[in-house]
């Protein structure tokens, strides 16, 4: 199921090794879907030339004050592209 724009999402805290596209500073953080970019072949598999599964890619917007408690301007935002398998579907 594709998440709608505006959905609140939490990024998984897993730490797999290798070519991964979710930066560590966003793991465990909560953001909001800014736009749905559609399915892309999973680059975390493409990097190893193994068959890549199409996965939905989202742009997720985070508040700077949430990522960094000492942020100079907490209302500033950070947008990143997050693959669906990095979104914790069990999070409230």
């Amino acid at each position: 199921m594709t998440l709608p724009v505006g959905a609140s999402v939490r990024i998984k805290t897993m730490s797999p090794l290798g070519h991964i596209r979710t930066p560590k500073y966003l793991r465990g953080k909560t953001g909001v879907v800014e736009r749905v970019l559609g399915p892309f072949n999973n680059p975390e598999q493409l990097a190893y030339m193994v068959p890549a599964t199409p996965r939905t890619l989202y742009r997720v917007r985070f508040e700077m004050g949430h990522i960094w408690p000492d942020a100079e301007a907490p209302q500033d935002t950070l947008d990143a592209e997050i693959y669906e398998h990095w979104i914790d579907q069990d999070a409230p």
């Binding site: 500073y25 680059p43 700077m64 990522i67 960094w68 100079e72 301007a73 500033d76 592209e81």
Partner: protein
């Protein structure tokens, strides 16, 4: 006198220190690149002319491409709407082959400023801006642009007012980003060609503003 040094062993005849030569041994990955390139040529998969043509194509791309897109958006509201809705198609419409990558244009306004970074590597809209500047690829820029972006902007000479929202875009996956800077005031009488000359590379990364802004 600046050139009246006593430690002449470390100075060139011009009086300046010698810069360390950049001619160390090839790294593991450089060696692998050379080996694969030579193998592919030997096996007839690629010709040296094809490789040179690709290098020429990479060198031919420059921020002038992106500046033309920005100037068009400043002068053609319908194009601007298309650019913001689908940057890839809008770039292609102007004749810029952006390959398989997907382009997202983000607009600076009176109350919003955008900044582009790639924390995981060095993703950059090369098709529109050419090769990235060296600083864009440094760990310092890549980490500080998300950790303390307003401080980074001040070092670039952009002091954002507190009531302007800064949106940092980390190109973590398949998108590439270009900032559509705000059109400088007082440029109402300029055409797209003249406007394009105001659009700097840094203004399209978000670390700068257009000339005259």
């Amino acid at each position: 006198m600046p050139h009246d040094h006593h430690d002449h062993d470390h100075l060139s005849p011009s009086g300046h220190p010698y810069r360390k030569d950049n001619d160390g041994a090839l790294s593991y990955w450089q060696t692998m690149e050379v080996a694969i390139r030579e193998l592919m040529v030997e096996k007839g998969e690629l010709t040296p002319a094809q490789i040179q043509a690709q290098i020429d194509a990479m060198d031919a791309r420059s921020p002038a491409n992106g500046a033309a897109v920005v100037a068009r958006a400043w002068t053609d509201p319908e194009f601007k709407a298309r650019l913001l809705a689908n940057g890839s198609d809008a770039a292609r419409e102007m004749g810029f082959d952006i390959g398989p990558m997907h382009l997202v244009a983000v607009e600076n306004t009176e109350d919003t400023h955008n900044l582009i970074v790639c924390t995981l590597c060095s993703c950059y809209p090369r098709n529109l801006l050419g090769l990235p500047p060296d600083w864009y690829k440094t760990r310092e820029y890549r980490s500080r642009a998300v950790r303390e972006p307003r401080a980074v902007l001040r070092e670039f000479g952009v002091d954002l007012p507190a009531d302007v929202t800064l949106r940092v875009h980390d190109s973590t996956a398949d998108m590439r980003y270009i900032v559509l800077p705000a059109r400088p005031a007082g440029t109402e009488n300029l055409d797209a060609t003249a406007l394009a000359k105001l659009v700097t590379r840094d203004s399209m990364i978000g670390t700068g503003l257009p000339k005259g802004a």
